[in-house]
């Protein structure tokens, strides 16, 4: 199982990195999502993989999973979800304003500031 989880994290990270290095916002955002999925699974696995054990310490329970990584993952999921929503909105705004969805700086570098007035 360790092998499965590890390779899943690896593949997701690799795919995410590839997509992040693309030029347009949509693949880059997809890549970011893949990376955050990978890191969530990674965090989850950082408390060791245990099957069928409760994440809780009670009297009489001998095997239990570490509850802390689960709390961390929950936080990380919430944050990455929010961040993805934000980046989608900003990217959409940039796309609608500039009429292209490249992530690099525009070629002519003639970004006149509108705040001159």
């Amino acid at each position: 199982m360790e092998f499965l989880v590890a390779s899943a994290i690896g593949i997701m990270t690799a795919a995410g990195l590839y997509l992040v290095l693309r030029l347009r916002t949509f693949p880059v955002i997809l890549g970011m999502s893949l990376l955050t999925y990978a890191v969530n699974v990674f965090l989850f696995a950082s408390g060791r993989l245990t099957i069928g054990a409760p994440p809780i310490l009670v009297k009489g329970v001998e095997t239990y999973t570490d509850p802390l990584p689960q709390a961390l993952v929950l936080t990380a999921i919430v944050i990455s979800f929010g961040m993805t929503a934000v980046i989608v909105m900003i990217a959409l705004g940039a796309y609608l304003g500039a009429d292209d969805d490249h992530v690099d700086d525009p070629k002519d570098d003639d970004g006149q500031k509108e705040d001159a007035a």
Partner: protein
């Protein structure tokens, strides 16, 4: 008195929702609340600063949970100084934003500003790595909003880059935290500092990877060279008051490096020995050189200042990466200086930009209020470039002095001195183009060819308000104060650096202060940490049925 240390985090987090919900359509109420909040922050920060000045480490356990299990907030000399610096900077930036009416150009400026302060304060005060991550995210998500404040396509594009880069940084941060947790089983900084010394040096692969990953994350925040790409565009395109506030954000990275790499992974720790000593100093030197060359090469004034920020962060990192007591003290002095100088420069850029068609470095008609603006640019540029009278010079001198005994001394001295020259040339060129050559440019055809104030009667930008000048002047006078009292400030920094290199009081304060451990009756020793049972009133009732209660609580 006990609870004051959490106030810098709680206060803005209370004010921000109130601003959004209660004062949504009343800009003057928002401004009043904002300024009052920041003044209160300064008062609180001063109190904390005085409290920590004698070397006391103040610990605050949230909900009274004991350290490795609960969340802690810790105030020592370094944290409280950074909190004070942030609060003071925020005051002047806010005054400027109000004076220049930047806060009216989009929605929710004041609320986002408060959230940003909350994140920065929290990052400085927290004693837990995962909370450091959370506060990083708080300050980042607020900064995304501030960065694209007032909109505009160029700003949104720069915003996309900024957000994407920081999302990558956050992901890396989580990978680092995951590996640290997998290796040590804790994320509390003090607890970590104790546990990493127990790791077998023969089995240190995981912790070494984690340590380097963490350093990379902080290096992204501090814009050390191979990881600096996010900075120039986003700082140049951000609204100038926001960019001025961002001057403290790179310092959050520097702070985190100082904190983590003096306490958790100190330079003499065996398991991580030799990991960053080899490349951090060269990388910092390169960022210093690249930043200052960027100052010389920039074609727009706002980019020039952004590169000056990279250069000054390079300077800070040069000093930090030597990891000696003297060098950390010098770095801390330089952090104070460069935060104030960079913020002042960004605000001056806005004063210039308000009177010109654009910020390109070419001669354009004179801006309104040019005499004062150019004078302030002169002072700020001297401070930033590190010429004698002002604090930049003192800071560089301290850093050079600290570098005197290191193996890379020749390189450090050569690069620091030559980049200072480059910066002087760069700033001189920019200043003379913007302010002196303006006199020789006739004003555009329609009005009479008189190149002075109020030359364009129709579309003339009004002279900046006096509040803006007060804000910039305040920042600059703080730089002057930093120069005048350099001896005292440096003395305090040395004491701070000593405290950083003797982290035992910090660690014992955090780990040995008693707190709730959740050991209700009926549980054996290892039962701890279940949140639901924490309520004190329930303690007495715990008996035979506790297990059932716990289950039902969990089920909800």
């Amino acid at each position: 008195m006990m609870h004051w240390i959490i106030a810098p985090v709680v206060l803005p987090s209370m004010l921000a929702p109130f601003i959004v919900l209660g004062a949504r359509y009343h800009i003057s109420i928002q401004r009043t609340i904002s300024i009052a909040g920041i003044l209160a922050q300064i008062a609180i920060a001063l109190g904390l600063f005085v409290q920590a000045a004698d070397g006391t480490v103040t610990l605050y356990q949230l909900s009274d949970w004991a350290a490795p299990f609960g969340i802690v907030v810790v105030g020592d000399r370094l944290s409280t100084l950074m909190v004070l610096l942030t609060a003071v900077l925020a005051l002047f930036v806010m005054l400027y934003a109000i004076g220049s009416k930047w806060d009216e150009r989009g929605r929710h400026f004041h609320a986002l500003f408060q959230f940003q302060l909350m994140g920065i304060m929290g990052a400085f005060l927290t004693g837990d790595l995962f909370n450091l991550f959370v506060f990083f995210e708080v300050l980042l998500i607020a900064s995304y909003g501030l960065m694209i404040h007032a909109g505009g396509t160029a700003r949104l594009r720069a915003g996309v880059q900024y957000v994407l880069f920081n999302l990558l940084g956050s992901t890396l941060f989580l990978f680092a935290l995951g590996s640290i947790y997998a290796e040590t089983g804790t994320l509390n900084m003090a607890d970590l500092a104790e546990r990493v010394t127990l790791i077998d040096p023969a089995d240190s692969v995981g912790i070494r990877v984690a340590s380097v990953l963490l350093l990379l994350v902080f290096a992204i925040k501090a814009a050390v060279v191979p990881l600096h790409f996010w900075l120039p565009s986003s700082y140049a395109e951000a609204p100038p008051p926001v960019a001025a506030l961002f001057a403290i954000m790179t310092k959050v990275g520097a702070y985190a490096i100082i904190r983590v790499y003096t306490m958790i992974f100190p330079p003499d720790l065996e398991v991580t020995a030799g990991l960053h000593g080899l490349w951090l100093l060269p990388a910092a030197l390169i960022s210093l050189a690249l930043g200052m060359v960027g100052v010389l090469a920039a074609r727009k004034l706002d980019r020039l200042v952004a590169f000056a920020v990279i250069g000054s962060m390079g300077m800070v990192m040069v000093s930090i990466s030597m990891f000696t007591q003297e060098s950390i003290a010098a770095a801390l002095y330089y952090i104070l200086h460069s935060t104030l100088a960079a913020a002042a420069l960004f605000l001056i850029v806005d004063l210039v930009g308000a009177g010109r068609a654009n910020l390109r470095l070419k001669a354009l008609p004179m801006i309104p209020g040019a005499a004062l603006v150019s004078g302030m640019f002169f002072v700020a540029a001297i401070a930033m470039a590190g010429l004698p009278p002002l604090s930049g010079f003192v800071g560089k001198l301290l850093i050079l002095d600290a570098a005197y005994t290191t193996p890379l001394m020749v390189w450090t001295w050569a690069i620091v001195l030559s980049t200072s020259l480059i910066a002087v040339v760069g700033f001189a060129r920019a200043g003379s183009t913007v302010f002196w050559k303006a006199k020789s440019v006739p004003v555009d055809p329609p009005p009479e060819p008189e190149a002075g104030n109020a030359a364009k009667p129709v579309k003339e930008a009004p002279a900046p308000s006096s509040l803006s000048f007060v804000a910039v002047g305040g920042l600059l006078s703080l730089t002057v104060l930093l120069t005048v009292f350099a001896g005292q400030v440096h003395g305090y920094m040395t004491a701070m650096s000593q405290q950083l290199f003797q982290p035992v009081p910090y660690i014992t304060t955090v780990t040995e202060t008693p707190g709730k451990l959740s050991k209700p009756k009926g549980y054996d020793d290892k039962a701890e940490g279940e949140k639901a049972e924490g309520a004190k009133s329930g303690d007495a009732a715990y008996g035979a049925e506790t297990d059932g209660d716990a289950k039902s609580e969990e089920a909800h």
